[in-house]
Amino acid sequence: MLRIDVPRGQRPLIKVIVGRSAAQSVLGGLSAPQRTPSTTADFLIDTGASHSVIDLGLAKKLALQPMSQMPVKTASSGSGHVMSTLFMASLSIAFTDTLYSSPMVPLGSQDFGNHGFHGLLGMDILSHFIMTFNGPANFIELRWPAAPSKKRKR
């Protein structure tokens, strides 16, 4: 379980560990050993995003491998769309008693500038979890039903 406080008037942000996928080194993609391989960043929990997105500057800093491009519709793109580069990354979220970890996920990218977060946690990742938003109490509770169960000591 993971409890995320959402003070009134604030946005729901979650700490995400994002970095280069190990496959990037194994398969001989881009290499930049002098750069940080992973970092903890604030991602916005965004049920309105069909997929998860990383800030383009952070993707560059981590030297993530670009894999493709895809059309993305935003609230301000009108009837058109923008093209978003899709990167390969690893992504982890620390729960109270376990670690959700995906060694290889596709992340779209956008320039988030000074929005105060470095990515969007979209429905592709959120669909793994049970999410409860308690508005009056100002928190979100995230549970991972497929989390590996702990072995009990006898």
């Binding site: 881009l30 069909s50 491998q65 894999m67 993305v72 609230a75 390969m88 596709p106 956008q110 969007l120």
Partner: protein, 81 residues
């Protein structure tokens, strides 16, 4: 090479040429190398590992097969878009 510098123009054109035939494999992952569709896989990871070993990561284009005209959405209003 920096992360954002790959030019996918050729691969995007190749995907467009194959888009109709790929509709039978919706939500699977297509792998393209320049002008050739080289494979379709159930998962992103499978696509990357299989075709990445054959061609190298910086040669493959991996894209989810979506309905014609589909666009991923980001509903947040973000400056600069």
């Amino acid at each position: 090479m920096i992360a954002e510098s790959r030019d996918f123009t050729t691969e995007l054109q190749t995907y467009a040429q194959h888009e109709q035939e790929l509709q039978k494999d919706l939500y699977k992952w297509a792998v393209i190398v320049e002008t050739k569709l080289v494979g379709v896989y159930d998962t992103f990871e499978e696509a990357v590992m299989t075709e990445g070993q054959k061609h190298g990561l910086d040669k493959i284009f991996v894209r989810e097969i979506t309905p014609v005209g589909y666009q991923h959405t980001i509903t947040r209003l973000l400056a600069g878009f």
